[in-house]
Protein backbone atom coordinates (compact mmCIF):
# COMPACT_ATOMS: atom_id res chain seq x y z
CA UNK A 1 0.00 0.00 0.00
CA UNK A 2 1.64 3.17 -1.20
CA UNK A 3 -0.14 5.42 1.24
CA UNK A 4 1.36 3.69 4.26
CA UNK A 5 4.82 4.72 3.10
CA UNK A 6 3.88 8.41 2.87
CA UNK A 7 6.27 10.81 4.54
CA UNK A 8 3.73 13.40 5.57
CA UNK A 9 0.02 14.04 5.70
CA UNK A 10 -0.36 15.74 2.28
CA UNK A 11 1.50 12.86 0.64
CA UNK A 12 -0.65 10.37 2.51
CA UNK A 13 -3.85 12.05 1.32
CA UNK A 14 -2.60 12.11 -2.27
CA UNK A 15 -1.80 8.40 -2.05
CA UNK A 16 -5.21 7.63 -0.59
CA UNK A 17 -6.84 9.67 -3.36
CA UNK A 18 -5.14 7.47 -5.94
CA UNK A 19 -6.36 4.39 -4.12
CA UNK A 20 -9.89 5.80 -3.84
CA UNK A 21 -9.82 5.12 -0.09
CA UNK A 22 -13.00 5.54 1.93
CA UNK A 23 -12.54 5.70 5.67
CA UNK A 24 -10.89 7.79 8.35
CA UNK A 25 -7.39 9.00 9.01
CA UNK A 26 -6.81 9.66 12.70
CA UNK A 27 -4.02 12.15 13.18
CA UNK A 28 -2.23 12.35 16.53
CA UNK A 29 -0.74 15.59 17.83
CA UNK A 30 -1.93 18.96 19.08
CA UNK A 31 -4.37 19.58 17.59
CA UNK A 32 -4.92 16.14 16.24
CA UNK A 33 -8.05 15.23 14.39
CA UNK A 34 -9.99 12.81 12.25
CA UNK A 35 -10.07 13.17 8.47
CA UNK A 36 -13.09 11.59 6.78
CA UNK A 37 -12.40 10.38 3.24
CA UNK A 38 -14.86 9.16 0.61
CA UNK A 39 -13.32 7.78 -2.60
CA UNK A 40 -10.15 9.58 -1.63
CA UNK A 41 -11.85 12.95 -1.41
CA UNK A 42 -11.83 14.83 1.90
CA UNK A 43 -15.44 15.06 3.10
CA UNK A 44 -14.90 16.38 6.60
CA UNK A 45 -12.19 16.96 9.18
CA UNK A 46 -12.90 16.95 12.89
CA UNK A 47 -10.30 18.67 15.04
CA UNK A 48 -10.33 20.56 18.33
CA UNK A 49 -8.47 23.29 16.44
CA UNK A 50 -11.34 24.53 14.26
CA UNK A 51 -15.15 24.37 14.23
CA UNK A 52 -16.73 21.63 12.12
CA UNK A 53 -19.61 22.33 9.73
CA UNK A 54 -21.98 21.05 12.42
CA UNK A 55 -20.50 23.41 14.98
CA UNK A 56 -20.72 26.33 12.55
CA UNK A 57 -24.36 25.66 11.70
CA UNK A 58 -25.45 25.20 15.32
CA UNK A 59 -23.35 27.82 17.12
CA UNK A 60 -24.21 30.55 14.64
CA UNK A 61 -27.88 29.69 15.13
CA UNK A 62 -28.29 28.98 11.42
CA UNK A 63 -30.04 25.74 12.37
CA UNK A 64 -31.93 25.47 15.65
CA UNK A 65 -31.02 22.76 18.12
CA UNK A 66 -34.43 21.09 18.01
CA UNK A 67 -34.57 21.04 14.21
CA UNK A 68 -31.09 19.56 14.22
CA UNK A 69 -31.97 16.79 16.65
CA UNK A 70 -35.13 16.01 14.67
CA UNK A 71 -33.10 15.71 11.46
CA UNK A 72 -30.54 13.45 13.19
CA UNK A 73 -33.34 11.22 14.47
CA UNK A 74 -35.00 10.99 11.07
CA UNK A 75 -31.76 10.20 9.24
CA UNK A 76 -29.93 7.38 10.95
CA UNK A 77 -27.12 7.13 8.41
CA UNK A 78 -25.26 10.31 9.28
CA UNK A 79 -23.55 10.33 5.89
CA UNK A 80 -26.88 11.41 4.46
CA UNK A 81 -27.56 13.97 7.18
CA UNK A 82 -26.74 16.80 4.78
CA UNK A 83 -29.37 15.62 2.32
CA UNK A 84 -31.87 15.43 5.15
CA UNK A 85 -31.12 18.98 6.30
CA UNK A 86 -31.70 20.23 2.76
CA UNK A 87 -34.86 18.14 2.33
CA UNK A 88 -36.25 19.54 5.60
CA UNK A 89 -35.61 23.04 4.30
CA UNK A 90 -33.27 23.86 7.20
CA UNK A 91 -30.45 24.96 4.93
CA UNK A 92 -30.01 25.47 1.19
CA UNK A 93 -28.07 22.86 -0.79
CA UNK A 94 -25.56 25.41 -2.03
CA UNK A 95 -25.16 26.97 1.38
CA UNK A 96 -24.54 23.60 2.97
CA UNK A 97 -21.95 22.80 0.33
CA UNK A 98 -20.15 26.08 1.00
CA UNK A 99 -20.24 25.61 4.78
CA UNK A 100 -18.97 22.01 4.59
CA UNK A 101 -16.20 22.75 2.12
CA UNK A 102 -15.13 25.85 4.08
CA UNK A 103 -15.00 23.78 7.26
CA UNK A 104 -12.72 21.24 5.54
CA UNK A 105 -10.29 23.95 4.42
CA UNK A 106 -10.41 25.59 7.82
CA UNK A 107 -9.72 22.37 9.69
CA UNK A 108 -6.84 21.52 7.35
CA UNK A 109 -5.38 24.93 8.15
CA UNK A 110 -5.79 24.26 11.90
CA UNK A 111 -4.17 20.83 11.58
CA UNK A 112 -1.21 22.28 9.72
CA UNK A 113 -0.45 24.63 12.63
CA UNK A 114 0.36 21.86 15.08
CA UNK A 115 3.38 19.64 15.23
CA UNK A 116 2.92 16.79 12.78
CA UNK A 117 2.00 13.58 14.51
CA UNK A 118 1.55 9.97 13.49
CA UNK A 119 -1.62 8.72 11.83
CA UNK A 120 -3.76 5.65 11.69
CA UNK A 121 -6.24 4.55 9.03
CA UNK A 122 -9.69 3.33 10.04
CA UNK A 123 -13.09 2.34 8.74
CA UNK A 124 -15.57 4.94 7.50
CA UNK A 125 -17.37 6.78 10.25
CA UNK A 126 -20.49 8.89 9.87
CA UNK A 127 -19.95 12.63 9.54
CA UNK A 128 -21.60 15.65 7.97
CA UNK A 129 -19.75 15.50 4.67
CA UNK A 130 -18.92 17.96 1.94
CA UNK A 131 -20.21 16.66 -1.41
CA UNK A 132 -18.44 15.30 -3.33
CA UNK A 133 -15.49 16.31 -1.18
CA UNK A 134 -12.29 18.29 -1.55
CA UNK A 135 -9.38 17.17 -3.71
CA UNK A 136 -6.35 16.60 -1.44
CA UNK A 137 -4.13 18.48 -3.90
CA UNK A 138 -6.39 21.52 -3.70
CA UNK A 139 -6.52 21.27 0.08
CA UNK A 140 -2.74 21.24 0.39
CA UNK A 141 -2.34 24.15 -2.02
CA UNK A 142 -4.88 26.30 -0.18
CA UNK A 143 -3.40 25.48 3.23
CA UNK A 144 0.06 26.45 2.01
CA UNK A 145 -1.34 29.71 0.63
CA UNK A 146 -3.00 30.53 3.95
CA UNK A 147 0.09 29.79 5.96
CA UNK A 148 2.30 31.91 3.74
CA UNK A 149 -0.19 34.80 3.72
CA UNK A 150 -0.38 34.85 7.52
CA UNK A 151 3.39 34.53 7.81
CA UNK A 152 3.73 37.60 5.59
CA UNK A 153 1.04 39.60 7.40
CA UNK A 154 1.93 38.74 10.94
CA UNK A 155 4.58 36.09 11.55
CA UNK A 156 4.54 32.43 12.45
CA UNK A 157 0.85 31.38 12.28
CA UNK A 158 1.43 28.73 14.94
CA UNK A 159 2.13 31.53 17.43
CA UNK A 160 -0.62 33.76 16.08
CA UNK A 161 -3.35 31.31 17.03
CA UNK A 162 -1.95 31.04 20.56
CA UNK A 163 -1.98 34.72 21.47
CA UNK A 164 -4.91 36.05 23.48
CA UNK A 165 -5.84 39.50 22.21
CA UNK A 166 -7.11 42.24 24.54
CA UNK A 167 -9.28 45.20 23.54
CA UNK A 168 -7.32 48.22 22.33
CA UNK A 169 -6.94 51.37 24.40
CA UNK A 170 -7.97 53.77 21.66
CA UNK A 171 -11.47 54.97 20.91
CA UNK A 172 -13.08 53.11 18.03
CA UNK A 173 -13.82 55.70 15.38
CA UNK A 174 -16.64 55.27 12.93
CA UNK A 175 -19.12 52.45 12.78
CA UNK A 176 -17.77 49.01 13.34
CA UNK A 177 -18.91 46.28 10.99
CA UNK A 178 -21.14 43.71 12.62
CA UNK A 179 -18.53 41.04 12.02
CA UNK A 180 -15.81 43.03 13.76
CA UNK A 181 -18.15 43.96 16.58
CA UNK A 182 -18.97 40.30 17.20
CA UNK A 183 -15.28 39.54 17.44
CA UNK A 184 -14.56 42.52 19.67
CA UNK A 185 -17.27 41.32 22.05
CA UNK A 186 -15.36 38.07 22.44
CA UNK A 187 -11.93 39.64 22.87
CA UNK A 188 -11.09 39.72 26.57
CA UNK A 189 -7.53 38.56 26.99
CA UNK A 190 -8.65 34.99 27.71
CA UNK A 191 -9.67 33.78 24.28
CA UNK A 192 -7.41 32.78 21.43
CA UNK A 193 -8.43 33.09 17.78
CA UNK A 194 -9.52 29.46 17.99
CA UNK A 195 -11.70 30.12 21.04
CA UNK A 196 -13.33 33.10 19.31
CA UNK A 197 -13.97 31.00 16.19
CA UNK A 198 -15.76 28.38 18.30
CA UNK A 199 -17.69 30.97 20.28
CA UNK A 200 -19.00 32.62 17.11
CA UNK A 201 -19.26 29.54 14.91
CA UNK A 202 -16.92 31.08 12.35
CA UNK A 203 -13.81 29.77 10.64
CA UNK A 204 -10.46 29.95 12.42
CA UNK A 205 -8.71 31.39 9.38
CA UNK A 206 -11.37 34.06 8.84
CA UNK A 207 -11.24 35.08 12.51
CA UNK A 208 -7.44 35.18 12.41
CA UNK A 209 -7.47 37.50 9.38
CA UNK A 210 -10.06 39.74 11.07
CA UNK A 211 -7.96 39.90 14.24
CA UNK A 212 -4.91 41.01 12.28
CA UNK A 213 -6.96 43.65 10.49
CA UNK A 214 -8.48 44.88 13.76
CA UNK A 215 -5.09 45.03 15.38
CA UNK A 216 -3.77 47.31 12.62
CA UNK A 217 -6.85 49.49 13.10
CA UNK A 218 -6.09 49.69 16.82
CA UNK A 219 -9.23 47.89 18.01
CA UNK A 220 -7.20 45.35 19.88
CA UNK A 221 -3.72 44.53 21.11
CA UNK A 222 -1.87 41.26 21.34
CA UNK A 223 -1.39 40.07 24.84
CA UNK A 224 2.05 38.56 24.88
CA UNK A 225 1.76 34.96 26.02
CA UNK A 226 3.08 34.74 29.54
CA UNK A 227 3.81 31.90 31.83
CA UNK A 228 0.91 31.40 34.24
CA UNK A 229 2.96 32.48 37.26
CA UNK A 230 3.80 35.88 35.79
CA UNK A 231 0.25 36.70 34.88
CA UNK A 232 -1.93 38.89 37.09
CA UNK A 233 -4.24 36.56 38.91
CA UNK A 234 -7.85 36.66 37.76
CA UNK A 235 -10.04 37.59 40.69
CA UNK A 236 -11.07 34.31 42.30
CA UNK A 237 -14.46 35.63 43.35
CA UNK A 238 -16.20 37.39 40.50
CA UNK A 239 -18.67 39.99 41.67
CA UNK A 240 -22.14 38.85 40.63
CA UNK A 241 -23.81 40.97 37.99
CA UNK A 242 -20.67 42.60 36.72
CA UNK A 243 -20.79 43.84 33.16
CA UNK A 244 -18.88 41.80 30.59
CA UNK A 245 -15.30 43.01 30.37
CA UNK A 246 -15.22 45.92 27.98
CA UNK A 247 -11.69 47.04 28.71
CA UNK A 248 -8.46 45.42 29.78
CA UNK A 249 -8.68 43.68 33.12
CA UNK A 250 -7.68 46.00 35.97
CA UNK A 251 -4.19 45.43 37.21
CA UNK A 252 -4.30 44.60 40.91
CA UNK A 253 -2.54 47.24 42.93
CA UNK A 254 0.40 46.00 44.89
CA UNK A 255 0.49 48.90 47.29
CA UNK A 256 -3.11 49.36 48.32
CA UNK A 257 -4.40 47.12 51.07
CA UNK A 258 -7.46 45.02 50.57
CA UNK A 259 -10.76 46.71 51.42
CA UNK A 260 -11.31 46.46 55.15
CA UNK A 261 -14.45 46.27 57.14
CA UNK A 262 -14.76 48.79 59.94
CA UNK A 263 -16.70 47.83 63.03
CA UNK A 264 -19.53 50.28 62.40
CA UNK A 265 -19.39 50.29 58.59
CA UNK A 266 -22.86 49.60 57.30
CA UNK A 267 -22.71 51.57 54.08
CA UNK A 268 -21.44 50.36 50.76
CA UNK A 269 -17.95 51.46 49.92
CA UNK A 270 -16.94 51.63 53.58
CA UNK A 271 -16.95 55.45 53.75
Amino acid sequence: MRASAARNLPALLLGLREEGFSGTVRVAGTPGGTIHLRDGLVGAIETPGAPTATSTLLTSGRIGDEDWLAACAAQRGADLLGERLVADGLVGAAELEVVCAAAVFDAAFALSLGAPGSWELGDPEPALLARPGVEPRQLTAETTRRISLLSRLWGPPGELVRVRPVPGMGVVEGPLSGRHEDILNQVNGRRTARDIAFALGRGLYAVTLDLIRMQTLGFLRWETPTVPGGRPSTAPRVTPGRTPAAGPPPVPSRTEPLPRRTPRGGEKGGK
Binding site: P51, L58, T255
Partner: protein, 147 residues
Amino acid sequence: MGPLSPPSPLSDNPQPPRSPQSPQSAQLTDILISLRDRVMGVSESVLSTVDGLLVVADADTVHPESVAALAAATLGVSRRIAEQAKIGALREVVARCGSGHVIVLAVGERALLTVVGDDGLDIATFQRESPATVEELTKVLAADVAY
Protein backbone atom coordinates in the same frame (compact mmCIF):
# COMPACT_ATOMS: atom_id res chain seq x y z
CA MET B 1 -3.93 40.80 66.29
CA GLY B 2 -7.10 42.81 66.87
CA PRO B 3 -9.69 43.69 64.30
CA LEU B 4 -8.32 47.24 64.11
CA SER B 5 -4.67 46.36 63.59
CA PRO B 6 -3.07 48.35 60.76
CA PRO B 7 -3.49 46.93 57.27
CA SER B 8 -0.60 44.90 55.99
CA PRO B 9 -0.62 45.20 52.23
CA LEU B 10 2.02 42.65 51.42
CA SER B 11 1.06 40.22 54.10
CA ASP B 12 3.97 40.36 56.50
CA ASN B 13 1.42 38.91 58.83
CA PRO B 14 2.43 35.40 59.85
CA GLN B 15 -1.07 33.94 59.79
CA PRO B 16 -3.33 36.03 57.57
CA PRO B 17 -6.97 35.06 57.23
CA ARG B 18 -7.70 33.14 54.02
CA SER B 19 -8.40 36.03 51.68
CA PRO B 20 -9.10 35.63 47.95
CA GLN B 21 -5.65 37.05 47.21
CA SER B 22 -3.70 34.66 49.42
CA PRO B 23 -0.67 33.07 47.81
CA GLN B 24 -2.30 29.69 48.07
CA SER B 25 -5.36 30.88 46.14
CA ALA B 26 -3.11 32.38 43.50
CA GLN B 27 -1.29 29.08 43.26
CA LEU B 28 -4.58 27.23 42.77
CA THR B 29 -5.77 29.74 40.19
CA ASP B 30 -2.50 29.33 38.31
CA ILE B 31 -3.07 25.59 38.12
CA LEU B 32 -6.52 26.22 36.63
CA ILE B 33 -5.13 28.75 34.14
CA SER B 34 -2.41 26.31 33.17
CA LEU B 35 -5.06 23.67 32.43
CA ARG B 36 -6.83 26.15 30.15
CA ASP B 37 -3.52 26.81 28.39
CA ARG B 38 -2.71 23.16 27.90
CA VAL B 39 -6.05 21.79 26.75
CA MET B 40 -7.66 23.20 23.65
CA GLY B 41 -11.27 24.15 24.24
CA VAL B 42 -11.16 24.58 28.03
CA SER B 43 -12.71 27.99 28.62
CA GLU B 44 -13.39 28.23 32.35
CA SER B 45 -12.96 26.20 35.49
CA VAL B 46 -14.12 26.30 39.08
CA LEU B 47 -12.61 24.59 42.12
CA SER B 48 -15.06 24.00 44.94
CA THR B 49 -15.49 22.01 48.12
CA VAL B 50 -17.56 18.81 48.16
CA ASP B 51 -20.22 20.67 50.12
CA GLY B 52 -20.58 23.23 47.36
CA LEU B 53 -18.52 26.22 48.48
CA LEU B 54 -16.32 28.10 46.06
CA VAL B 55 -12.56 27.77 46.56
CA VAL B 56 -11.13 29.52 43.47
CA ALA B 57 -12.25 30.03 39.90
CA ASP B 58 -10.76 30.83 36.54
CA ALA B 59 -14.10 32.12 35.34
CA ASP B 60 -15.27 34.47 32.67
CA THR B 61 -18.99 34.17 32.00
CA VAL B 62 -20.16 31.56 34.51
CA HIS B 63 -21.16 32.47 38.04
CA PRO B 64 -18.56 30.64 40.15
CA GLU B 65 -20.65 30.30 43.32
CA SER B 66 -23.55 28.75 41.41
CA VAL B 67 -21.25 26.38 39.54
CA ALA B 68 -19.64 25.36 42.83
CA ALA B 69 -23.01 24.52 44.35
CA LEU B 70 -24.21 22.61 41.30
CA ALA B 71 -20.94 20.71 40.96
CA ALA B 72 -21.44 19.16 44.39
CA ALA B 73 -24.97 18.08 43.47
CA THR B 74 -23.87 16.78 40.04
CA LEU B 75 -21.07 14.65 41.38
CA GLY B 76 -23.17 13.34 44.24
CA VAL B 77 -26.02 12.21 42.01
CA SER B 78 -23.66 10.80 39.39
CA ARG B 79 -21.81 8.73 41.98
CA ARG B 80 -25.08 7.23 43.06
CA ILE B 81 -26.15 6.35 39.54
CA ALA B 82 -22.73 4.78 38.91
CA GLU B 83 -23.29 2.72 42.05
CA GLN B 84 -26.73 1.65 40.82
CA ALA B 85 -25.34 0.65 37.43
CA LYS B 86 -22.55 -1.33 39.11
CA ILE B 87 -19.98 -0.30 36.53
CA GLY B 88 -17.18 0.71 38.84
CA ALA B 89 -16.15 3.93 40.51
CA LEU B 90 -17.10 7.22 38.89
CA ARG B 91 -14.19 8.85 37.03
CA GLU B 92 -15.79 12.07 35.91
CA VAL B 93 -19.10 13.48 34.75
CA VAL B 94 -19.20 14.81 31.19
CA ALA B 95 -22.27 16.81 30.21
CA ARG B 96 -22.38 17.18 26.43
CA CYS B 97 -24.45 20.21 25.50
CA GLY B 98 -25.60 21.98 22.34
CA SER B 99 -22.42 23.98 21.95
CA GLY B 100 -20.02 22.78 24.60
CA HIS B 101 -19.21 20.52 27.50
CA VAL B 102 -19.22 20.66 31.28
CA ILE B 103 -16.99 18.19 33.10
CA VAL B 104 -17.06 17.59 36.86
CA LEU B 105 -14.41 15.51 38.58
CA ALA B 106 -13.33 14.90 42.12
CA VAL B 107 -10.12 16.43 43.49
CA GLY B 108 -9.20 14.14 46.35
CA GLU B 109 -11.81 13.55 49.01
CA ARG B 110 -12.84 17.10 49.75
CA ALA B 111 -12.84 19.12 46.54
CA LEU B 112 -14.34 19.20 43.07
CA LEU B 113 -13.19 20.60 39.78
CA THR B 114 -15.71 21.79 37.20
CA VAL B 115 -14.44 22.54 33.72
CA VAL B 116 -16.46 24.32 31.05
CA GLY B 117 -15.34 23.72 27.49
CA ASP B 118 -16.56 24.66 24.03
CA ASP B 119 -17.80 22.41 21.27
CA GLY B 120 -14.27 21.63 20.14
CA LEU B 121 -12.98 20.63 23.57
CA ASP B 122 -10.13 18.17 23.12
CA ILE B 123 -11.52 15.53 25.45
CA ALA B 124 -8.72 13.06 24.79
CA THR B 125 -6.08 15.60 25.81
CA PHE B 126 -8.22 16.68 28.75
CA GLN B 127 -8.35 13.13 30.04
CA ARG B 128 -4.60 12.85 29.63
CA GLU B 129 -3.89 16.15 31.39
CA SER B 130 -6.52 16.15 34.12
CA PRO B 131 -4.89 13.59 36.46
CA ALA B 132 -1.79 15.80 36.72
CA THR B 133 -3.95 18.87 37.38
CA VAL B 134 -5.96 17.01 40.02
CA GLU B 135 -2.75 15.90 41.71
CA GLU B 136 -1.31 19.42 41.75
CA LEU B 137 -4.54 20.81 43.18
CA THR B 138 -4.68 18.04 45.78
CA LYS B 139 -1.14 18.86 46.92
CA VAL B 140 -1.92 22.54 47.41
CA LEU B 141 -5.23 21.78 49.10
CA ALA B 142 -3.56 19.33 51.47
CA ALA B 143 -2.21 22.36 53.33
CA ASP B 144 -5.80 23.17 54.38
CA VAL B 145 -5.86 20.23 56.74
CA ALA B 146 -3.02 21.78 58.73
CA TYR B 147 -5.26 24.73 59.69
